[in-house]
């Protein structure tokens, strides 16, 4: 593998928001975690879509969540599948079930925790990783 020199401090992929997801990332920049929520039936869902999957309403707004949740699932990469993460091996990727709506699973990483100590059901809370100028990525850490 060759890597060319970068003008950026953070060289892993950064999110490219679109019209549907822009409110989520704008909130993340403010260090706030939000999810779409149906204004008719109250259902939260993720990822952002224009319509409620339960009642099919188009009246969707982004509302904050506490940032707390539990580990629903996790894996640990020991082999490179994405070249930008080669130097992080072994690294975890998790699915977090949010406290407000356990059916919503956010993919993320758990930090401040050994991979061997991650467990399904572990309580976590979000923190906002300001990885570079104008780029913030939500990750999770164990609740102490």
């Amino acid at each position: 593998m060759t890597s060319e020199p970068s003008e950026y401090r953070y060289t892993k992929p950064v999110p490219e928001p679109d019209e549907e997801t822009e409110p989520f990332w704008t909130a993340v920049q403010r260090h706030e975690l939000v999810t779409p929520r149906c204004q008719e039936c109250g259902r939260r869902f993720f990822p952002p879509r224009p319509m409620c999957p339960d009642c099919n309403s188009l009246d969707i707004a982004f509302e904050p969540v506490s940032g707390r949740g539990q580990v629903h699932s996790f894996v640990v990469f020991h082999q490179v599948f994405h070249p930008a993460f080669r130097d992080d091996l072994p690294y975890n990727v998790v699915q977090i079930a949010l406290e407000e709506e356990p059916r919503v699973h956010l993919t993320s990483n758990v930090v401040e925790c050994e991979n061997d100590d991650i467990a399904v059901g572990m309580a976590v809370e979000v923190f906002f990783d300001d990885v570079d100028d104008g780029v913030t990525i939500p990750r999770f850490r164990p609740v102490t």
């Binding site: 950064v14 994405h82 399904v120």
Partner: protein, 386 residues
Amino acid sequence: MAGERAAALRDQTAIVGVGLTDFSERSGKTVLELALEAGKNAIDDAGLTNTDIDGVVCYMYSDSAAPGQVASTLGIGEGHLSLHSNSGGDSPPQVTGWAAMAVATGMADTVLVYRALNGRSGMRIGGSGGPTVPAGRPTASGEGQFTSIYGMAGPIANYAMLARPHMAKYGLTNADLAPVAVMMREHAQLNPRAITYGKPMTIEDHQNSRMIVDPYRLFDCCFEVDGGVAFIVTTAERAKDLKHPPVYIRGVGYSSGALDPDGATYAKTTAPRVLAAADVELGDIDVACISDDYTWTFLGQLEDYGWAGGGEGSAWVSEGRGKIEGGDVACNPHGGQLSEAFVHDMNQISEAVFQLRGEAGDRQVAGAEVALATGTAGRSAIILRR
């Protein structure tokens, strides 16, 4: 009831030809050549010629030969039916079901179903990201903006993520997956076509294989190959007059979208569907070619179908209940995706056909009358009978 409407399909069609290429780590052929070879072999196996075929069915992930190209090169007639897909989630039982539906409803008489890929030497499923890291930094759009920014990449990780909650629920560890790999490898030693023929595996070998994406080691993952598999599906009537004893399609089941949270895999939803469609009970099944793309997805389906209780699949395997002889149901006599070859579960169906024809040689399940074949994570299933 959907099960009652399924009677319209039941036993109306049959698989009359199976064509395989060699399975290797480097075919030295293009995907078109593999598709043509598998297709021609299937047509020959049926005792038919290219002009007898009036339909083509296939699916791919941008990794195979286009059906139009395959059809015109094989010389399949003008005005043929073409049903195909280039997206995730499709699988052989489902697309074979499309062929059966087309034949049963008169949209076509004799359909070629194929899948061919250089899955080992060429484009790997889920392959992305070249050997270099771009200058600056990459961006992730679409679904990737929520997943690949965290390093989530490749198909193995998706199925590893699927396994974890179930394994945590029942206190299973990676060591509990080993008996599945060992059983498949044992069966493959009776199968000269298997890519692992002559290469037995012990529990210790499994445990010593390197971790790929925890909880999956190398030997928990299917064996990618270059190769192609094709079938010919026609009417039950016509099937009686062809080269081999017909293998009738009894029923097909499929489920997409979200999983039933009470189950392990998609089979929680698909199993009752395919059993109802085929009007068979679990105990009627003699051969179960359960998709073993991963050891855990095999175990999960074993439980979702009901052969093993929740979390008890590993013990079930260790007790020999999936063996070719003397078990509850013979599982993957050919060695499955783990040990025959990963042709994306097409060869789960081909093995079912060989078993029901009585052509399985040293690995023949005595008296096999009814067989099940499933696709990735139990998403789809087909029940065949002789």
